[in-house]
Symmetry: C2
Subunit: 275 residues, 2 copies
């Protein structure tokens, strides 16, 4: 069964730009054919400022660029974007604003002392994170979990086609809405953040699912996006748990079938699943 | 069985700074206790130049710092290091050289135009990578693979204790020598690169094992380290395969038990495993 047709935006396992056929040999020395996911560098500019070079499968560079800037607190979701230019051949994406962003002003000062945009940004994101307390209105019924993971796992994807890729899914109730994949798990998150900004999607009633581990960065991104519930089939880090508790995020890990572990925000969970 | 006592440097699952006890609830609403790995920011300086902030479990900051700079081509393994200072409270590590590095000179020019150290470095690493062709003398017997993975999997580790962590192992023949773990898989690689530089370890007869995927960055780091054989239990990306073929690296993925797939450098493999 697949509910992929109901997704607003989903994986494109048949897009030939996103995977490649390769031939190798197996443990018996026999020839084997397999598909492997594409990975290419994409350099992101905010106006004239070079920000970062990311490794990505290369779909939705516009959403990735926009989501990255929002999740790094360089742009707000409501900031007016005048244009996003993408040059496939050069591997460059440029997000253009009519105004000079706060980030550019801050970076100008910082560059003189250190030159490291990424270092600057880290402290800036943590500062913004500290101000966010997620409201408690959203709910998660335990009966949704098995249905969500079943739908996600049976959706045709690059993961099923080629493996070695991470997936993130924006969900509402027991329905997956947007399913993005990427070689970098943070890219998959950022593409969803970009989609939410473009589509003015309200985060307050959403659930975020990731195949990746629940590290500090994953928790910070989910909280920056304003989504109150984060689920992963993987495990936790100590700082991820601490940040989730601090910000009021519901943090669910090791979610496989009907089993899971909650380490923060359990008050949002309604235990309606029968044993 | 565990051969961990034979490791020159290995995981420290009992080090209380590296994992924490947390209490949560399971799918039945019952209380559960588990251990989760630590994750903390570490900001790296090369002399007075801020380079990057990394998320790490925090063991061996000196090896991590040194290995990062070598794998990013900011230092050569043979460059004389005058001192490595680490401040646990501030989360800062400073690698000091008596000379001004090529990197600092290059960065000074670049900062004026873009301010992004990471972007600069990427092109620099790719340029250096293009000049490397790994020599073909090292061998891999297929019978070593099962023995290596068994020894690695049974070594007491943070992975077995808490999960949600990547591991990398420097091996020689069928023996693991150095086994490093970290929340960032690239940190685990970098710590091994740092260990190799400090111990003047010859890479030419070594084998590198990683739990992570065989992406371009993993292939580039292995090649920059001069190690001719890279093995992972995870899968491949297209660019990882391409770079391995270009540089003469033996690339083995999906290695589980006696099964595996080779996508580059198969001439180094000796098929001695009985069926």
């Amino acid at each position: 069964m697949s509910d992929s047709h109901k997704l607003l935006l989903g994986p494109a396992p048949n897009d030939e730009r996103l995977s490649a056929a390769v031939t190798g040999i197996n443990e018996q020395g026999e020839s084997v054919d397999l598909r492997v996911v594409t990975e290419r560098p994409l350099t992101l500019y905010l106006n004239s400022q070079e920000i970062v070079t990311m490794m990505t499968i290369g779909d939705h560079p516009d959403l990735l660029a926009l989501g990255y800037l929002i999740n790094q607190n360089m742009l707000k979701p409501s900031d007016p974007i005048s244009k996003i230019d993408y040059d496939d051949e050069l591997g460059v994406v440029i997000v253009r604003t009519d105004f000079e962003t706060r980030f550019e002003e801050k970076l100008k000062k910082k560059v003189r002392t250190s030159g490291c945009a990424q270092g600057t940004v880290f402290g800036d994101v943590i500062d913004a994170f500290d101000d966010i307390k997620l409201s408690g209105s959203a709910k998660l019924k335990t009966s949704w979990l098995g249905r969500l993971t079943h739908q996600i796992n049976t959706t045709p994807s690059l993961y099923l086609e080629a493996g070695a890729i991470h997936g993130c899914v924006l969900c509402q109730g027991d329905k997956p809405l947007v399913y993005m994949e990427d070689v970098g798990r943070h890219n998959a998150v950022d593409k969803i953040a970009g989609w939410m900004a473009v589509n003015k999607s309200d985060p307050a009633d959403k659930i975020f699912y990731t195949t990746g581990r629940l590290t500090s960065e994953m928790v910070i991104k989910t909280v920056m996006m304003g989504i109150p519930i984060l689920i992963s089939r993987s495990g936790f880090t100590a700082w991820g748990v601490e940040l989730a508790r601090q910000s009021g995020l519901t943090l669910i890990g090791r979610a496989r079938g009907k089993r899971f572990t909650v380490l923060a925000g359990e008050e949002r969970i309604e235990f309606d699943e029968t044993k």
